[in-house]
């Protein structure tokens, strides 16, 4: 097997490992790399680009709604704006940004050299990027989706929406679900097979519990969305009648399919973000997380319960009160696992010794926003009150406290926390504090009043409202707050760019963090760890000072320098089982993704030859991709 040495400063070893792991410079490297760190950073940057696009859309809407009866945009433009805004933020920002963190961090957290399927990982990224390009290309022809991010039929059937708008929607989402499914498979195999020896499943960081749970949830939830989108496309293009009541179909079929996917998706975009907090908060509290096991189990429980509450999006559709009350009760019950996480964080701060730096500010602020978003969610679980709340601005407030409070705030905390690892540079602390307070004040000023406009009876998804019925002032405050919040997000971007260029050097472990990623240099070398560590506890870098019984070994062990390999271990106990050969950089993923996109454009414009040519190309590239290597043939 591998040689055992103690070569922490062994330059020759470094050179040998680089030979296997470094991506070649030049165009081939740019498009062919399978390095999870590059892919992770690309995910993060791309997701932020989508965040900014969605933010621009939101800003235009807020100008339109600053006062009643304004006519800045037409109803058609407004409908496209809010549909793009919702779809972009939920599908192309909130979930991919967390995939970015997980892709970058996972191998570093578990002492591996890459993800389980590096080429599939590259493929996930390219299909994610291209699905977003596909979606936004709708703007070039002025036919962006306009049916809301939930695209309720029959309004979205060809009968009522003859343009390309909803074809862009359905096809872009199908393309994206391919990306997300590939990513989920990769995460699941990685967490169960690639952990460093000794890293039993109860020693992985909570972020990994979060992403593993959401990966399973995605595998079960996404088919429902894919099927719904395929049926919508068939209804629109080939005249099937899945959703046509007059033809034996039913409009509510779409709603069930959409929300069976949609509610688990809410947890998919928050559980890994909660994991970020569970892992980063202890570093700033100078102690391990309180009740690790309970938090991990609560994460999994939330993921499971998340499948049992979808009908609370449909309380006004005329379902029987008895059916409604079951889903109402389940929606109340799902509060408990979230409460467990909240109290674990508070207890961690209470029993810790907080160091108030920018990441801590974002996490402390997040806890309060999480609770506001949580309790407003409880209000919507009460079915009869929800029949009033649903489709009003109260729900708009709720969803933004969830998606911004529980996703963007932890993401900002995570960026400040891991940016030094990713770049080797510290982010600016002073600008960081400005950044936090602008975002926190702007967010609450902008989004809290939405609860009130909702309670005052203002429906959502309206391009204008009559002035003088009590909605003007509260909407003006919302608009001002939203723009202040936008300035806050801009400060985050500025801090990232500035620190990337001129940040102070970080060193391997600037925060004195406890987990494996802080054991390697910043930024890590392409092979992550020169020596594969052996893990003896949950906090390899703290265990001596905490006087824990476990003993990790970080500077001695297998170096795997002869070939491009990483270790395979058993799913639960993390016992060494095999050495895995890892694939080289390759252009197959990007080409395959491009061919797939071409096929989808063919389906969009109803060009048979483009669809067929694209599909043939996809098939050919799949065969090329899967063609056995010389080594595989030998082993067979």
């Amino acid at each position: 097997m591998a040689t055992v040495a103690s070569p922490a400063s062994d330059l020759a070893l470094h050179e040998r490992l680089l030979e296997h792991w470094e991506t070649r410079p030049g165009l081939f490297g740019v498009f062919g790399t399978v390095d999870h760190k590059t892919i992770g950073k690309r995910y993060l940057v791309t997701a932020f680009v989508f965040l900014i696009l969605g933010g621009i859309e939101a800003s235009i809407m807020r100008l339109q709604l600053a006062h009643g009866d304004l006519r800045l945009v037409t109803p058609e433009e407004y409908n496209q704006l809010f549909t793009l805004h919702g779809a972009t933020m939920i599908f192309w920002y909130a979930s991919p940004v967390l995939s970015g963190f997980s892709n970058y961090l996972w191998p570093l957290l578990i002492g591996a050299r890459d993800m389980a399927f590096p080429r599939l990982n590259a493929y996930s990224y390219w299909t994610f990027l291209l699905s977003g390009v596909f979606l936004y290309s709708s703007l070039l022809v002025g036919q962006a989706p306009d049916g809301g991010w939930f695209a309720y039929v029959p309004m979205t059937r060809a009968e009522f929406s003859p343009g390309l708008n909803l074809d862009f929607y359905a096809l872009a989402l199908i393309l994206l679900t391919i990306s997300t499914t590939a990513g989920a498979i990769n995460f699941i195999v990685t967490v169960f097979k690639l952990r460093a020896p000794g890293m039993s499943i109860n020693r992985i960081p909570i972020l990994m519990w979060g992403t593993t749970t959401t990966s399973f949830a995605a595998l079960f939830a996404l088919p429902s969305l894919t099927v719904a989108c395929v049926m919508l496309y068939l209804d629109r293009r080939f005249g099937t009648r899945f959703f046509d009541a007059a033809g034996g179909g039913h409009p509510l079929l779409w709603q069930h399919l959409f929300w069976i996917f949609g509610h688990p998706w809410v947890y998919i975009v928050v559980l890994p973000a909660m994991g970020i907090v569970s892992d980063a908060l202890p570093t700033f509290c100078r102690r391990p997380l309180v009740a690790y096991t309970v938090v991990a189990l609560a994460t999994v429980t939330t993921g499971i319960l998340g499948f049992g509450v979808w009908v609370h999006h449909m309380f006004a559709t005329g379902l029987a009160p008895l059916a409604i009350s079951f889903f109402s009760a389940a929606s109340f019950a799902i509060t408990i696992p979230s409460a467990i996480a909240v109290f674990a964080w508070i207890a961690t701060i209470w029993h810790g010794r907080p160091v108030i730096r920018t990441p801590f500010l974002f996490m402390a602020g997040f806890i309060v926003l999480f609770v506001i978003g949580g309790v407003s969610g409880v209000a919507t679980a009460a079915a009869s009150f929800d029949q009033q709340l649903t489709d009003t601005y109260f729900v708009v407030a709720h969803i933004h406290y969830v998606l911004i409070g529980i996703n963007l705030f932890p993401v900002a905390a995570g960026l400040y926390y891991w940016f030094p690892k990713m770049t080797g540079k510290l982010m600016d602390e002073r600008l960081g504090r400005w950044n936090f307070w602008t975002m926190f004040v702007g967010f609450n000023l902008g989004f809290f009043p939405m609860h009130i406009s909702g309670l005052l009876g203002m429906p959502r998804r309206i391009y204008t409202y009559p002035s003088g019925i009590g909605w003007d002032t509260v909407n003006l405050i919302t608009t001002v707050g939203a723009f202040l919040f936008a300035v806050g997000v801009l400060l985050l971007v500025i801090n990232v760019v500035r620190s990337r260029l001129r940040g102070a050097p970080a060193g391997p472990n600037p925060w004195d963090g406890p987990t494996l990623e802080w054991a390697t240099s910043s930024p890590p070398p392409p092979y992550n760890f020169a020596v594969i560590p052996t893990v003896g506890s949950r906090h390899p870098l703290w265990e001596k000072r905490l006087e824990e019984s476990g003993r990790s070994v970080l500077d001695e062990g297998p170096t795997l320098e002869a070939e491009k390999t990483t270790l395979e271990t058993s799913p639960l106990d993390g016992q060494l089982t095999d050495v895995l050969h890892m694939p080289e950089d390759t252009l197959y993923p990007v080409l395959h993704a491009l061919a797939l996109m071409a096929t989808f454009y063919g389906l969009l414009v109803r060009s048979t030859w483009l669809s067929v040519a694209g599909a043939v190309l996809v098939l050919a590239l799949t065969i090329g991709w899967l063609w056995p290597t010389a080594r595989a043939l030998e082993e067979a």
């Binding site: 009522f160 409460a339 467990i340 409880v378 679980a381 009460a382 003088g468």
Partner: protein, 329 residues
């Protein structure tokens, strides 16, 4: 954080006159939903305040001068009490309370004697009063009259896409879905006009799909019913009579019905007693002469995307049609 108690703000703003706030119920269902809502918002506000204080307290509490890392242990009590026992008690209570409210508002104590059928269209409301015999049946649009203190059964369906019937101060939403008829009910406990609006995104003029429910005294309601059952009277004035001619021979009559005349179109709202309604264009404008002229001359200017086309009329004809419509009391 702690000082921003949502309740105070809500109470302040809910007092805003004119806003159709569902925290100020004026009907059997909305009253109970509003009480439930206030209870939930009070609990929610209390939870947020407590958590904010805990976060601040945990961060800034005095600590003995410290050494290095703090060992694991302790803290489970927080979770058992704060995250399991207390929330379970609160949630069980609210679940039971909200289920009881749901059961109470699901159907009225006695079967309503009045039935109103509401059919959603892009972007207006067709309202039918079937009565007890075909002779009593009539249709109107966008303005529903009910007698105060009496439960009224609503039968909701849709002619095109999904809409949602919603009068915030009378009851929560119920969707109008093609292919099924949803049955719900309302009962007003104070006479007056209540603003309503489509509660489910339904396309271009979702924002312009408004309506009102007018709760009349029983006597007024009976008078209204009797008036609505009549066909339109032949216009008395010359101008209005000329307007009727224009109406009949132009595109107007293709889409609209005026009972008692030859106009029998079924695409747009029934205009038999159009002038008795307080608003036009599905609650978007007060029903005044100026607004009406602007609407007929250029509907797209007022509701962009609306299905009603601009009917080209000479100024004199437009003038006459307006006079005719205003005579449809």
């Amino acid at each position: 954080m702690a000082m921003r108690s949502p309740l105070v703000l809500v109470a302040m703003l809910a007092a805003c006159e004119g806003a159709p706030s569902y925290l100020q119920g004026r009907g059997y269902v909305a009253d109970r939903e509003a009480t439930l809502g206030w209870v939930l918002l009070a609990i929610a506000s209390a939870v947020v305040v407590v958590i904010a204080i805990l976060v601040l307290g945990a961060t800034f509490r005095r600590r003995p001068p410290g050494g290095d890392l703090i060992r694991e242990g302790g803290g489970m009590r927080w979770i058992v009490i704060g995250a399991i026992i207390v929330p379970s008690v609160i949630l069980l209570g609210t679940t039971i309370y909200s289920t009881v409210v749901l059961a109470r508002v699901a159907r009225p104590a006695a079967k309503p004697s009045i039935v109103v059928q509401v059919i959603g269209h892009r972007w207006w409301w067709e309202v039918r009063y079937p009565g007890t015999s075909p002779a009593e049946a009539f249709a109107t649009a966008n303005e529903i009259h009910i007698p105060v203190h009496q439960p009224v059964q609503l039968e909701l369906s849709s002619a095109d896409v999904i809409h949602s019937f919603w009068i915030p101060q009378l009851a929560g939403k119920m969707d109008l879905i093609p292919g099924q008829t949803n049955v719900t009910w309302i009962e007003a406990d104070t006479a007056g006009a209540y603003r309503g609006q489509c509660g489910e995104y339904c396309g271009l003029q979702h924002a312009g799909m408004r309506m009102s429910v007018v709760a009349d005294s029983p006597a007024e309601f009976t008078r209204w019913l009797q008036a609505q059952r009549q066909g339109a009277a032949a216009p008395a004035a010359d101008l209005a009579a000329a307007g009727e001619q224009v109406f009949q021979r132009s595109a107007c009559a293709v889409c609209h019905t005026v009972r008692g005349s030859e106009a029998g179109g079924a695409v747009g709202p029934d205009l038999t007693h159009f002038a008795s309604r307080a608003t036009l264009a599905a609650g978007v404008l007060p029903n005044t002469q100026g607004n009406l002229a602007g609407w007929v001359a250029n509907p797209q200017g007022i509701k962009p995307g609306v299905i009603m086309p601009a009917v080209p009329l000479r100024p004199a004809d437009l003038h006459a049609v307006i006079a005719y419509l205003q005579a449809l009391k």
